[in-house]
Amino acid sequence: MLDNTSRRYAYKTIAHTADFMIHIEAQDIESLVEGTVMALSDSMFGLENLRPQTTKVITVSFDDVEMLIFQVASEVVFMFDTETLIPARVEAKMADDRTMEVVFICDRFDEKRHKPRVIFKAPTLHGLKVSRKKGKLFVRILMDV
């Protein structure tokens, strides 16, 4: 099990038979998104092995926070599958109530430096639920591997 803590978010992961569950807790929506991205990168290659080199920026429109998390996670999968980019750092900022800008600072997959621990193929909606407790936001997302 991985465990990462910072001032703004924390996460843990659980492997199932054919998928991978990630739990994230954070202070606000931006850090919830950042925690999700970092949890995915950490699970795939280990954050300690990633060097921030290439910047990608996306803007996500969403109806609910669950779909925001789903779309950002699918972007991480897409970037790796098409350009072998792996987020080493991330900055998320709400543009308005229904739009978020996410800046990924990525490493590029290098067989010599990166040993895949798990490769995500897609996020799922199963059990995807954002909840609020004692001033913190919680989300769990199940990834297809």
Binding site: I14, A15, T17, V77, H126
Partner: protein
């Protein structure tokens, strides 16, 4: 987090089936093909809950079904079969799965296993060299333009044959001749195009494989002869799907279907059951995109078949025709298809979702190639790389009881992490070599991830299918050499 703590009530219908009676929001019963023996080995309650959840969806016909290789999936269980009325029913990406038209192709040959014994290491190496394999595998010499992707989406395996990957006669032996009608590339996203454009003719990673095998046992001589399968002769099995293209199409449509279900007032016990009425704009767009991915997968397996033939020619120095390396059949086991079935004495058009389930047509069916009309459709059921695979044949019973569907494989019992943890203490490659099975893998941890112990014994699954009569055993195939991603 567990996948569900709900328990579910069921009763035994007969030695091969249990019934989940219609209760609450369920519109029909659930029926699961499973023996008492398999139940004793452990039944995933969460998967049974999913059978009941599927039974709540609008327009479901007959029963929510599951094959003996049932296990938990996203929304729909893997091993699930559900048919929906064209006018009143829904279509759901969760009922198809992420890897649209993940499927299996079997090639037969006139080669005796003994004849290739000494060449086996070279054959495995040649397969590995010819077929791009592993995480992010892509074709160095084949990047498709948007126009070409649109053509692949429309024509399926025929597109590959027109470019010299295989021959016209291969097409007759593919489900739907390797092309599902109704595909439209116009509804496919740029992202899906980006993910798929370099991946045609590649195997990918995970449980996908190409396997050289030998027919070890023949159960039905007449049907085996029709399929060209003989004891002691070499076969090649290809298991892969629509790669990132299909995954992205599923990912793109889940939020669309989530919203469509809400707009249509459809109750979803699990959000991953996201769906839309078949005749809605969203439903039709999903079908068109799904058919595009399905056709990409048929083309993918067609190109890989050609790569297999070239690898055999290179190593054995004979033409593939001389070796009799021809297609037995190609089945889709993650798909939703528009099919006509008899329900309550009348013919109705249904959208049959098979998620980890294989079509199993009976003898005489019009969709069969002429060579198989008198016996029925080959049902290809791969097991793990250390034990065996089966070829079954479809039956009239499947037509009546399961919308012409049967099982698709074994199913995992260990998580990938747990398999890697257990595998680290063992030399899996040597264990397999000691059993006469050579393996080459792309990923450093794939071998442990995919070791035989990570899977159920496919024989248990096949016995239930055979005993219930929805498909009958034809031959058992033992693996000799495997490449994996």
């Amino acid at each position: 987090m567990s996948k569900g703590t709900q328990t579910i009530k069921f009763e035994r219908l007969d030695k091969d089936r249990i019934l989940i009676p219609k209760t609450g929001a369920m519109r029909v019963d659930g029926i699961v093909f499973v023996s008492e023996n398999m139940m004793k080995k452990g039944m995933d309650d969460a998967a049974l809950v999913q059978v009941a959840n599927v039974a709540t969806l609008p327009g479901i016909v007959g029963a929510s079904l599951a094959m003996p290789d049932i296990h938990w999936g996203y929304g729909f269980p893997i091993g699930g079969v559900a048919a929906f009325d064209e006018d009143e029913g829904i279509i759901s990406p969760g009922g198809v799965g992420y890897d649209i038209n993940c499927g299996v192709r079997l090639l037969r040959s006139d080669l005796l296993a003994d004849e290739i014994k000494d060449s086996l290491p070279a054959l495995v190496r040649a397969l590995f060299a010819w077929i791009p394999t592993g995480v992010g595998s892509h074709q160095k010499e084949m990047t498709l333009s948007k126009h070409e992707m649109a053509e692949v989406s429309k024509k399926g395996a025929r597109w590959a044959v027109e470019r010299g990957f295989g021959v016209e006669e291969d097409l007759a032996f593919l489900e739907e001749q390797g092309c599902i009608r109704g595909a439209s590339f116009d509804v496919v996203s740029d992202k899906a195009y980006e993910r798929g454009r370099k991946q045609l003719g590649t195997l990918g990673s995970g449980n996908h494989f190409v396997e050289i095998g030998v027919v070890e046992e023949v159960y039905d001589e007449k049907v085996a002869n029709a399929f060209g399968l003989e004891k002691g002769k070499v076969t090649v099995t290809i298991h892969t799907g629509s790669r990132g293209f299909g995954h992205q199409i599923c990912t793109d449509f889940i939020p669309i279907m989530d919203k469509a279900a809400r707009n249509a007032g459809i109750y979803l016990p699990d959000r991953q059951l996201a769906c839309a009425p078949i005749k809605s704009s969203e439903g039709q767009r999903y079908y068109q995109a799904m058919a595009s991915a399905a056709n990409f997968a048929f083309a993918n397996r067609q190109i890989i078949s050609d790569e297999v033939r070239r690898a055999f020619e290179e190593v054995l120095g004979r033409s593939w025709r001389d070796m009799g390396l021809r297609v037995v059949y190609d089945v889709a086991h993650n798909i939703a298809k528009r099919e006509v079935h008899e329900v309550g004495g009348r013919k109705v058009t249904l959208y049959v979702h098979r998620k980890g389930a294989t079509r199993a047509l009976p003898p005489g069916h019009e969709a069969l190639p002429d060579a198989y009309k008198h016996v029925g459709q080959p049902v290809l059921v791969p097991g793990d790389m250390g034990r065996y695979s089966y070829v079954l044949v479809g039956s009239e019973k499947a037509m009546k009881d399961t919308f012409a569907s049967s099982c698709h494989g074994a199913g995992r019992v260990l998580s990938r992490h747990e398999a890697i943890r257990q595998g680290k203490k063992r030399d899996i490659k040597k264990e397999l070599k000691d059993k006469g099975i050579l393996v080459m893998v792309a990923g450093s941890e794939t071998l442990a991830e995919e070791m035989p112990d990570a899977y159920k014994d496919v024989e248990d699954v096949v016995e239930v299918v055979h005993s219930s009569g929805i498909a009958k055993k034809v031959v058992k195939i033992r693996p000799m050499g495997v490449i994996k991603g």
